[in-house]
């Protein structure tokens, strides 16, 4: 029973895409299709959750084009976590997108919602992949299916952004990730994800180091510097796409893939003793701090959030590189908490764009008085991203800090703290000045964001609050993971 349901999880959004294409003429019906598909998908993922948390790993073989390289699906706790986040946030994003696309008068909405669904299908494929080659397949499909979303506007600027997006993502995956997969196959004769990793004992420490570096840079979606430029370039996309990219699908697929490879291909123990760890920790630390500093200098709100994401993603990579139980737990938790936090921020950015037609941070003074709900949610999400209690983001940082101490890298705790300060510096002032800044003379009346947008914003902001008080849900996953 559990077996064929894996394929259905990947198939459902594709069916949804088809339904969207078929009902393109009547927007309301079409939107209903998207939301309905989202709920069905969420239901499917939830229904399989108890079994996986109890320790089962459902498995399904799809095809075997080359002997030894099957296309297969398997669900383990990390993948389940990712799938849950993706499917639940898809529904929220769709609701938001309805408000945004209509409020902004965007064209080609059918194409938009259809490729949205296809991208989610590819995301599910990444979450459920049983081996490196299936992961690679869905990873590339994700890049290809999000390309039309990034270049949705069709302008020359959108095309340029699309070219950078595609160029870096496919470039890194073909030049580094594919050779890394080939090398793994070469050394071990297998590409399957297995508990404890498949490389132990088959590969010299130097080769392990190089292989890890190839994987880390080959997964361009994790936005490690210097292959991070695609993220700000992708900001030409409509905001629901940015929300999708930065919270749900693309970036999380990247760091999730890296985390999964660390746990199931290398094995935590193998990496813990390797010299390349030092090197990668430097790269990660530089990305965390560097991206935060660049973020502070960005006036364009979405670009600021983009660089913030680059920085936050490296937290997760940090957890992967630390290769300790706490580090991995911290990384997994941060996948979830960053997702809800960042998506809220992007929702707010989009709402500001639609309602007030503003894109720059310097223009936002005083806006809070006219868009209180939006800026309120922005404040909540900012605190969560900064990692301060009483909001969800704190837990990720907490476990990462413990992981850093466990592995003996006390300096990393310092990096985390500095980064927290930087986060506060580039995020918190925005809502503060929105509420308390600006002149009090009457301005053009600005309404709040469209209702669907507000619903979405409130939902995700609430999640930021709730998850803080109920971290046990997330901890269940990490426990199952580390078993």
């Amino acid at each position: 029973m559990a077996d064929s349901s894996l394929f259905l999880i990947v198939l459902t959004p594709l069916v949804g895409a088809l339904l969207v294409l078929l009902t393109g003429r009547s927007p309301n019906l079409r939107e209903t299709m998207s939301i309905l598909t989202g709920f069905v998908l969420l239901a499917q993922v939830i229904s399989i959750t108890p079994a996986v948390l109890a320790g089962e790993i459902p498995h399904q073989l799809l095809a075997s084009p080359v002997p030894g390289l099957p296309i297969a699906l398997a669900l383990e706790p990390l993948g389940l976590l990712f799938a849950l986040i993706a499917s639940s946030l898809w529904i929220v994003t769709t609701v938001y997108a309805i408000g945004y696309m209509r409020g902004h008068g965007e064209s080609d909405q059918t194409r938009f919602f259809a490729f949205f669904a296809i991208a989610i299908s590819a995301t599910m494929g990444v979450a459920l992949s049983a081996n490196l080659i299936t992961l690679f397949l869905f990873y590339e499909l994700l890049t290809l299916s999000t390309y039309p979303l990034v270049t949705h506007a069709g302008t020359a600027e959108a095309r340029r952004g699309g070219r950078v997006y595609l160029g870096i993502l496919i470039g890194t995956s073909m030049a580094f990730l594919l050779p890394a997969i080939i090398a793994t196959w070469y050394f071990t004769g297998s590409v399957t994800f297995e508990a404890g990793g498949i490389l132990a004992g088959k590969i010299s420490p130097l080769a392990t180091g190089i292989l890890f570096a190839l994987f880390a840079f080959g997964i361009g979606k994790a936005a490690l510097m210097p292959f991070h430029r695609w993220l700000p370039a992708a900001m030409v996309a409509p905001t629901p796409v940015s929300a999708l990219l930065h919270a749900v699908a693309v970036v999380k697929a990247g760091v999730f893939s890296l985390l999964k490879i660390v746990i199931y291909v290398f094995g935590i123990d193998l990496l813990a003793q390797n010299g390349v760890r030092e090197l990668m920790l430097w790269v990660v630390a530089i990305t965390i701090l560097g991206a935060s500093i660049i973020a502070m200098n960005q006036d364009n709100l979405k670009r600021r959030l983009a660089y913030s994401t680059i920085s936050q993603l490296s937290y997760i990579v940090l957890g992967a590189v630390l290769a300790s139980a706490a580090g991995v737990a911290g990384a997994a938790i941060h996948i979830a908490t960053h997702a809800v936090g960042k998506i809220t921020l992007f929702f707010c950015a989009g709402a500001i764009l639609v309602a007030a037609h503003k894109t720059r941070v310097s223009e936002l003074d005083g806006l809070g008085r006219q868009m209180p709900i939006t800026m309120g949610a922005f404040l909540i999400a900012s605190i969560s991203i900064a990692g301060l209690p009483p909001l969800a983001g704190m837990w990720g940082k907490w476990y990462l800090a413990i992981g850093a101490l466990d592995s003996g890298y006390a300096m990393l705790v310092g990096v985390l703290m500095v980064s927290t300060l930087l986060n506060i510096a580039y995020l918190i002032p925005i809502p503060i000045r929105a509420f308390f800044g600006g002149s009090s003379e009457p301005k053009k009346p600005i309404k709040e964001a469209p209702i669907p947008c507000l619903v979405a914003i409130i939902t995700t902001a609430t999640l930021c609050v709730i998850v803080f008080f109920f971290p046990s849900a997330l901890l269940q996953f990490t426990e199952a993971l580390l078993r």
């Binding site: 084009p65 080359v66 296309i71 073909m174």
Partner: protein, 491 residues
């Protein structure tokens, strides 16, 4: 029994159909005859393949004259595979050709067009099936002469000069092959390939044998369009009628590669061809350069057909890389890629043919917004392009994977890098077209609407075949591996 005569019928049916075609003369009748003949050859080649898979190689002698005195046809797995590819492509593309040819060639010439098509088919099938070296030359010339005619019928006047250039270079190549065969005959006294294989090892250490080998290899290399002897290909494919580009791109060079395989492995034996003569490294270098150089040049082309032609030169580089590994795995990668490349390029050129039918141009600038005006056609192009790049679940990925495995087995890391870079370059030139098709501003006054079904369906058939054989590889890979094993063991 007809069954016993199948090898002869494989060539005789299209050969007899050609003059019949000339007599029939009218466009529809000649088209129909071409499709039926191609279908007949497809059936025969399928029957031959199943027979060979089940019972081993077939030896057929003409007129009852036993080899090596008479002309013998020998069909083993490699031939049968190539026969299947050629006849299948001919069938699919000739179905496509009706409207495409009607749009590009005057009605009074269409009968002659299909006659030349059938002769070309005869020649290609003959090259693939024969077991006699001189017979191979004859069929080679038959297919070449008819392809000169086919190419010259293109609309653009540059088709004439392209055909002329191909004629000059092709005849030089064929004459080199003739010299090579002549030298071998002088040395051994036989023209039968199996007999040559037996007698050559005794005299292999002579200048004559080496000279003969050199002439043969260079002559065939010209036909394959191996860098740097590829100069005729871009113009020939760019200016030929669309159906001809599709047909030749998917078959002609494949059959020439088969001829090379036959001579290198069956007649001379791999230890002589690739180790005594320094061909292994030579082919590796030329193949790598072909991949990199041709892909680079393809990126800068404004004519999409020319871009695909340069892409073909790069793919031929991959084929030669497979040979240069001198291993069973490398050879199976090459044989597999013969099949997969035929599918890829067939689909791509058919898509271009549909586009040419609708907008009458192959210039990249005219493709703006085409993705919305002809979504199904550009969809075929997209699938073929993804296969060319080597995305998993496409046929192209399977070929690349086996090439990579063969490179790893040999430990030739530079070649691995070349293969990866080749894929990256393919991404660039394919994505140029996709970007313009989907993201260019839509021009309202441009001709719009899909190509007719009789053109679209064959294109989609090949596109779906790319996807199908990217997942269900038992047939394509299985036969390729068996064929490589047989070839590696000598005739």
């Amino acid at each position: 029994m007809i069954g016993a005569q199948l090898p002869a019928l494989q060539v005789v049916i299209p050969l007899l159909a050609a003059p019949l075609c000339l007599l029939l003369y009218r466009p529809f009748a000649t088209w129909l005859l071409t499709v039926l003949t191609s279908a007949a050859t497809l059936v025969i080649s399928a029957l031959l393949l199943t027979h060979v898979l089940g019972n081993g190689p077939i030896d057929y002698t003409f007129g009852g004259w036993a080899a090596p005195f008479g002309i013998a046809y020998r069909i083993d797995l490699v031939n049968a595979y190539v026969l299947l590819i050629v006849s299948a492509i001919s069938t699919v593309v000739s179905v496509f050709a009706r409207l495409s040819v009607a749009a590009e060639i005057e009605a009074s010439n269409q009968g002659i067009f299909y006659t030349a098509w059938l002769l070309c088919l005869t020649g290609l099938l003959g090259i693939a099936i024969t077991g006699d070296a001189f017979n191979l030359f004859v069929f080679l010339e038959i297919s070449s002469l008819s392809s000169y005619v086919l190419i010259a019928m293109g609309q653009d006047r540059r088709a004439l000069t392209a055909s002329y250039q191909y004629l000059i270079m092709g005849t030089i190549g064929a004459t080199f092959i003739l010299i090579g065969v002549g030298l071998l005959y002088a040395l051994t006294g036989t023209l039968n390939m199996a007999d040559l294989a037996e007698r050559l090892p005794g005299v292999a250490d002579t200048r004559t044998a080496r000279a003969g080998f050199a002439f043969l290899t260079v002559g065939i290399a010209l036909k394959i369009a191996l860098f740097p002897l590829h100069l005729w290909l871009p113009n020939a494919y760019a200016y030929a009628p669309s159906a001809v580009s599709a047909f030749l791109a998917a078959t002609a060079t494949k059959v020439a590669v088969y001829a090379l395989l036959r001579f290198l492995f069956s007649v001379f034996g791999e230890s002589f061809s690739l180790e005594t003569m320094p061909l292994a490294h030579g082919l590796a270098v030329l193949g790598s350069v072909a991949v990199l150089f041709a892909s680079l040049v393809a990126i800068f082309q404004h004519n999409v057909k020319r871009m695909l032609a340069y892409s073909s030169v790069a793919q031929i580089g991959y084929l030669t890389l497979g040979i240069s590994f001198v291993s069973e795995l490398g050879l199976s990668a090459t044989i597999l890629h013969l099949f997969n490349h035929a599918l890829m390029k067939g689909a791509l050129f058919l898509a271009l043919g549909c586009i040419a039918w609708r907008i009458g141009s192959a210039r990249l600038g005219d493709f703006q917004g085409l993705g919305y005006r002809m979504p199904w056609t550009v969809g075929v192009f997209l699938i073929g392009g993804l296969s060319l790049i080597g995305i998993p679940t496409t046929a192209g990925f399977i070929s690349k994977w086996y090439l990579v495995l063969a490179a790893l087995e040999k430990g030739w890391w530079p070649v691995l890098v070349v293969i990866v870079i080749g894929s990256l370059l393919a991404v660039v030139y394919i994505w140029r077209v996709v970007e313009i098709a989907y993201l260019g501003e839509r021009r309202e006054e441009a001709p719009s609407g899909e190509a007719p079904l009789s053109m679209l369906l064959p294109a989609w058939l090949l596109a779906l075949a790319n996807l199908y054989f990217g997942i269900h590889t038992e047939l394509s890979v299985g036969v390729a591996r068996e064929a490589a094993k047989a070839l590696f063991g000598g005739l």
